[in-house]
Symmetry: C2
DNA sequence: TGCGTTGTCGCAACCGAGTTGCGTTAATTT
DNA sequence: AAATTAACGCAACTCGGTTGCGACAACGCA
């Protein structure tokens, strides 16, 4: 599966995640690092970081994948499952720390869940 | 916003939903009505049916929109919010009737939620 | 410090779900 | 039957994301 090399682009991307309290999309990263980094590179980097358990991803209502730093995950073992929230006003996306109790429909076996909440965030309400 | 006309294609699509206990995607409908109906027509029809409160839609893990019949919804007022489930083996998608208790992150105001469960369905487990 | 290995990069072409503009067809209204 | 207008087929398009490939650079080791 390969070793993760410490390259300039990787540092920039990781720094973007650490500096942001929100989740980020590939497009937002491309805008932030305008013309400094190629589209394919960003997507490949995000995929590898997710495989390695450094970040996790999820989809928003408008079918765009967002990414955020993991806590306590490792290669191939994602354990920090939680809900995500997108504000309909400012469009910002964030992780929700509160735990969620999920049902087991019928006699099926649930192995993962994606929960996306939408509404207005604290700062957009005031 | 226009009146809903009773056309042959519409009858076929509604019949497909009534005959299926699963949720359906635009692609699945196109396959079912092979070459009998155009891609744009299906998408436009699904959008209108959703606007009119006849069907509701949601996204699966692989970013494909699925649709299912509503219960008790009307034009512009969708009230039958519930979770959805996709089997990782047979890929089939269905609605989950059980209610789910969701958290309210911080002081934000949640107006809608999408919950997608994945795992193995009853028939794929046996 | 020099060199080989191999992961990463940029580029350009591609993919596929979904959208759109437009001229035509057909369901509904009169 | 004629007028109205929603629904249709077609083709071109959008856009988030992928892929093949040759060039480049991070890393391990001598
Ligand atoms: Mn998260
Ligand atoms: Mn449903
Ligand atoms: Zn906001
Ligand atoms: Zn199944």
């Amino acid at each position: 599966m390969g070793v993760l090399r410490k390259t300039k682009h990787l540092e920039h991307v990781l720094q973007a995640f650490r500096q942001s309290s929100d989740a980020l999309s590939a497009g937002m990263l491309l805008d932030a690092l305008a013309n400094e980094i190629n589209k394919s590179t960003v997507y490949r980097m995000l995929q590898k970081l997710e495989d390695d358990g450094v970040i996790h991803s999820f989809l928003t209502m408008d079918q765009i994948r967002f990414y955020a730093l993991c806590k306590g995950c490792s290669s191939g073992r994602h354990v920090d499952t939680h809900a995500h929230f997108q504000c309909t006003s400012c469009k910002r996306v964030s992780c929700v720390s509160e735990e969620i109790v999920l049902p087991t429909p019928g006699r099926s076996r649930i192995t993962s869940a994606q929960v996306l909440l939408t509404g207005q965030c604290e700062s957009c309400l005031s």
